[in-house]
Amino acid sequence: MKEDNFLKKIDWLILPLLGMGVVVLLWQVSSATSAKELPSPAKTWASSKDYILKPFEKRGEMDQGILRFTWYSLVLVAKGYALALIIGTPIGFFLGLSKMFTKTFDPIIQILRPVSPLAWLPLGLVLFVSAGKNASELGALFTIAVCAMWPTVLNTAVGVRAIPQDYLNVAKVLKLSRTKTLFKVLIPATLPYMFTGFRLSLGIAWLVIVAAEMLTGRPGVGGFLWQEYNALIYEHIILCIITIGVVGFVLDRLMSVVERRFKTA
């Protein structure tokens, strides 16, 4: 009985490790049998350990520690994501507040929303071609912002529409000014929805960064991945995939912690 309890207490750790073990085993088996091109786990580790154990080392433009690459990518994501929120939140508010605005712009939003980042990026590069050296960064920022803002836009709009009439009645009875209504009633009431949107947006921004770096060849996790593919070092592709996954997971966890903090009632 005692041992049972102990197992139950640490199953949050054991079960995920077990799951990972199963996947690594499958990887090992398939690399040894059917997929000969797939590097085995041991080979991947041997080839990647320089990048992992010296995560901040810079040996060359495209030969740097994995955390250094991750840092480059994160900085770009942060800029693009900030842009997406700054543009997306007000659009969401307008959509939620005005039926006219919704009727006018909802169709075009629904059309632009499913467009892939791979389609936006060339347009972004063309738009900023006059920026010369900065063209690839500006193009990437444009792509991240355009792709990542939709969840924020739509969730904010839904949140504004879902504000209970009671709260609006309070604002009306107190004759609150427009700014006061916005900051004391509309924004706090919408905040939980907004944060759900922010969280989804961050996930998309991180997805887009890899595509953007691959196409522009900027140093970063995605750029590194593409370069190593061209250099036929397949072990590093796996290293990059794992890094991208882990970073995405950590970002999502962080956002959900923030989201919980801002939940109002």
Partner: protein, 301 residues
């Protein structure tokens, strides 16, 4: 002319008449209770007075000024409290005080807010959020917020109907005490004739809807302060209660014949739940009634 005056006010929603020819006059300092069935249009009536709704016809004046929009001169306590859940008790009331008295100094606002929190006995819960309070406490905050605006008239929209009987009685006593302190003009909407008799100077029943209208006014001749226990033994109380209930019930039977309703049946045929599910977990797609052309029924004789 009376302080609050409604003349031939009518209101319909989407063709259904809710209120018809409402005439009401309330004098300054008077406590009037409007008693009615649920669904009769009580909340519509108070929303009209508050200015949250516009009447289809008729005129409404408060202190000789026409009521066109909501404003802080009419403090309103909603049935569901309507507190902002992200603000504390103090902040909720402060928001109202700031809206009404933007020019006051910070100290004066603080003092004012705290005075009203103390008035409803909530000083220990000053920094709590509405989510942490019980229903009765939330309604007290709502009352304090309405009073702190120092309105010309206080509109109470079934403020106690969501509370349990004990809390309800306590809050009735509290409302009675607060009212006797500053004698504001109050319009109380309630579905409980006893509550009306205990608190009000006059009781006006609202007939059953649709097209509800106000009945004759019953004056409560029981001297104040009223004792909750003793009041039950007054012959005046018993008679008043009987008259009001009788009037309301009569108004309902009178109306009941006039109710017509068009029922729309769902556009779907019943399914046989005994048919086993398919591999994908779905039964056959539901059958729309409008798509059914031939219906045959097997009868076992």
């Amino acid at each position: 002319m009376a302080y609050l005056e409604l003349k031939n006010v009518s209101k319909s929603f989407g063709g259904a008449q809710v209120l018809k020819d409402i005439n009401l006059s309330v004098e300054k300092g008077e406590f009037v209770a409007i008693v009615g069935f649920s669904g009769a249009g009580k909340t519509t009536l108070i929303s009209l007075i508050a200015g949250l709704l516009q009447p289809d016809s008729g005129a409404m004046t408060l202190n000789d000024l026409e009521i066109t929009a909501p404003g802080p001169d009419r403090g309103i306590v909603f049935q569901n409290y309507s507190l902002l859940p992200w603000l504390t008790v103090y902040e909720n009331i402060l928001l109202a005080v700031e809206a009404v008295n933007p020019n006051w100094s910070a100290d004066k606002k603080k003092e004012h807010v705290e005075k009203y929190i103390a008035m409803v006995n909530l000083t220990p819960a000053r920094d709590k959020k509405p989510g942490e309070l019980s229903g009765g406490m939330r309604q007290r905050v709502s009352v304090a917020r309405a009073l702190a605006m120092n309105p010309q008239i206080l509109l109470l929209d079934e403020p106690l109907s969501a509370l349990d009987a004990l809390t309800r009685a306590t809050l009735q006593d509290e409302i009675s005490r607060i009212w006797s302190e500053d004698r504001k003009t109050v319009v109380l909407i309630t579905n409980d004739p006893d509550e009306g008799i205990y608190l009000a100077d006059r009781i006006i029943p609202l007939t059953a809807g649709p097209g509800a209208t106000l009945g004759p006014s019953f004056t409560v001749e029981i001297p104040r302060p009223r004792d909750r226990k003793a009041i039950n033994h007054y012959p005046a109380f018993k008679k008043l209660r009987r008259d009001i209930v009788e009037f309301m019930l009569n108004s309902r039977t009178h109306r009941a014949a006039a109710v017509t309703r068009k029922l729309t049946l769902p556009d779907i045929e019943p399914e046989d739940l005994n048919i086993p599910r398919t591999m994908t977990g779905w039964r056959t797609t539901p059958i729309r009634k409008r798509e059914v052309e031939n219906v045959s029924v097997e009868v076992n004789s």
